[in-house]
């Protein structure tokens, strides 16, 4: 771990402590669960990263800053993909976003637009 990562993680931890008691954890519905779970990001990071990126996404795209809007867009995004379940369809959509250049940069992370929205929804549900 280099100095910058240490500070980054240390800073997050320090920030998380006073906020810990104030995080509103809304139990997602069965449908919302995969919609709010960006598969790769949750495997390479933790809930804190997903929430942080989600908050950032909603600041950059305030027109999508609510559960209904994000849920609706994600549901439509998944509808065009093939797969046995919603999670698989969303993963396919994320890869297609990368292939077709629908990406964005949040805090330096190069993300598919769909997974960034998933972060956004996660952060709304777990604000």
């Amino acid at each position: 771990m280099d100095r910058r990562q240490f500070l980054e993680l240390g800073g997050t931890s320090a920030l998380a402590l006073p906020l810990a008691g104030s995080i509103a954890w809304i139990e997602p519905t069965d449908e919302q669960r995969p919609l709010a779970r960006p598969d790769m990001l949750t495997r390479v990071g933790d809930h804190g990263l997903t929430r942080r990126l989600g908050r950032r996404y909603r600041r950059v795209f305030p027109e999508e800053n609510d559960t209904a809007t994000l849920t609706g867009i994600l549901r439509r995004s998944a509808a065009g993909e093939e797969g046995p379940d919603l999670s698989t369809k969303l993963t396919a959509r994320v890869r297609r976003d990368f292939a077709e250049g629908r990406t964005l940069n949040l805090d330096g992370w190069v993300l598919a637009r769909t997974e960034a929205r998933q972060c956004g929804l996660f952060s709304v549900l777990h604000s």
Partner: protein, 516 residues
């Protein structure tokens, strides 16, 4: 044969059919190519067979541009030149490097990659590369791992090889000294510093060279064909300082000598995070035991991507995170004493293991992405003469190195594109480093270069745009040629030595056609 020029009488005349100034990778490659011919070749080396402080001090310079490595230690002034402390990485330039690109100002060479192809093969032999084959599929069968399954329209795996394979790289001084000394038609003079190129009145032909010693003694060298084979800074310095006949410097009527100095930007740029620990052996430089494989891949955007996104030519390497990529030799802490660097290199040579392939590589969840890239040629990035002179009375070089907004933007765009591709194949996610997220022209203090000096006497079709023509002949000077990275019109992301040797062998062929 060899003569220490300090033993020669003052005023002595040395003559031959061809004179090569500088015995580094370029000069020695050329001289070897003339071995056992009937022509008498004069090879002049300013230093001796060992590095000395006195000779290194001749390279001290003023610096009016960006912070840069001290030239008296980044370059070696002795027989073998800077191959005495080079790392040994080799790869050819890409076809796009030679092309005129409308999104890269001052790009385009008057020759193409195909003109160098046969010479790259020969240069691979001189540098004792494991193979002249650069196809990643060839290497997939000969070392650990395989190339990533990237979209071939957008990405390629560009291979680098180590000179000397898994053992120490070719060090021209020690590896080729005997061959040079034993060649009947090659006369090597050490401690023969050329301080002046004397031209005819119009500056259209070199008449003779002046070799000067610390005690003031001089010798004169005459040959019908002269090749400057020093580094990019010293070649430009010598031409600018040779101003008796042409006040602005020999070959400098169009104010091109010294301009377009280039380096390779080498910098940590992003990190790749993958969900489960794994190795990427085809792309990892160091194996578990700290050794290197004879060949190594970097991810490079294709011409299509470079053109579409208007980037410079760069490639991305995958390092173990938190390991500095250049052994701590940043501009800040680069030793001024060349012998300290040599000691480091000698230790590294001794520890290298020539057994080579099929090593195991560390499994990681985080990889440091490091970008190595050409810089956009900039006429304001240049070498001029300082007011101060060295111990031989030659004005010192003043290096004014610049980097541009396009350089930084290209690194950002390339790394974003890497993030997209690695996301597409599901390998992991990429996060750009903080310094790269800022949309400005600032650079962090861990910026490093490759110690690669390029440009200053660039190749161009017309003298208004460069110093040498497609045959490396100085525009407007009949018998003066340059064998050096000084002639590079653009810098590529490739380490320069292989191309320096290839260009030198091509020039050698051209001169054989003239002399023969």
């Amino acid at each position: 044969m060899h003569t220490d020029a300090r033993t020669l009488d003052d005023g002595r005349l040395i003559d031959g059919d061809l004179c090569i100034v500088g015995a580094g990778a370029a000069g020695i490659s050329m001289a070897l190519d003339w071995a056992d011919r009937s022509e008498r070749v004069i090879l002049l080396e300013g230093g001796g067979f060992e590095v000395s402080s006195e000779m290194q001090a001749l390279y001290e310079n003023a610096n009016s541009g960006r912070e840069y490595y001290p030239l008296e230690s980044a370059r070696l002034h002795f027989f073998g030149g800077t191959t005495g402390h080079w790392g040994g990485l080799c790869t050819p330039f890409d076809p796009i490097d030679f092309a005129e690109r409308d999104w890269v100002p001052h790009s385009g060479w008057p020759i193409g990659r195909e003109d160098l192809a046969p010479y790259y093969r020969d240069a691979a032999g001189v540098l004792r590369l494991p193979s002249p084959n650069w196809d990643p599929n060839y290497w997939a069968n000969r070392r650990s791992g395989a190339p990533l399954a990237v979209d071939e329209d957008r990405w390629r795996t560009k291979m680098w090889q180590w000179s000397g394979g898994a053992g120490p790289p070719v060090r021209f001084g020690s590896d080729y000294r005997t061959e040079i000394e034993q060649a009947d038609n090659i006369h090597l003079f050490t401690h023969a510093n050329v301080c002046n190129i004397v031209a005819n009145e119009s500056g259209s032909r070199v008449e003779e060279l002046t070799v000067r010693h610390f005690n003031g003694d001089e010798q004169t060298v005459r040959a019908p064909h002269i090749v400057l084979a020093c580094g990019a800074v010293q070649n430009a310095r010598l031409m600018l300082a040779s101003n008796d006949q042409v006040p602005v410097g020999l070959g400098n009527e169009h104010d091109q000598v010294g301009r377009h100095f280039m380096e390779h930007v080498e910098i940590d740029s992003a990190r790749l995070v993958v969900p489960e620990a794994q190795s990427l052996p085809f792309y990892q430089l160091s194996s578990d035991d700290g050794q290197s494989s004879p060949a190594w891949g970097l991810l490079q955007p294709t011409r299509h991507v470079q053109e579409k996104r208007k980037t410079l030519n760069g490639a991305v390497r995958f390092n173990r995170e938190a390991v500095k990529s250049n052994d701590a030799f940043t501009f800040d802490d680069f030793p001024e004493d060349a012998r300290k660097i040599l000691a480091f290199i000698e230790k590294s040579d001794a520890e290298s293991d020539s057994t080579g392939a099929n090593r195991s590589f560390p499994e990681l969840t985080r990889f440091q992405l490091n970008t190595r890239m050409e810089q956009a040629p900039d006429p304001a990035s240049r070498v001029t003469l300082s007011e101060e002179t060295d111990a031989l009375g030659v004005p010192r070089a003043d290096l004014h190195w610049t980097l541009s907004e396009q350089d930084k933007r290209s690194i950002r765009v390339i790394n974003e594109a890497v993030g997209q591709e690695l996301g597409r194949i599901g390998l992991g996610r990429v996060q750009l480093m903080r310094w790269l997220r800022a949309d400005d022209a600032s650079w962090p203090d861990f910026l490093t270069g490759g110690w690669h000096h390029m440009g200053t006497l660039r190749m161009a079709e017309r003298p208004e745009n460069g110093v040498v023509d497609e045959n490396c002949r100085v525009h407007g000077v009949d018998n003066l040629y340059v064998a050096s990275s000084a002639v590079f019109s653009t810098g590529s992301c490739a380490n320069p030595t292989l191309t320096i040797v290839a260009l030198s062998l091509r020039l050698s062929d051209h001169l054989k056609g003239i002399v023969g």
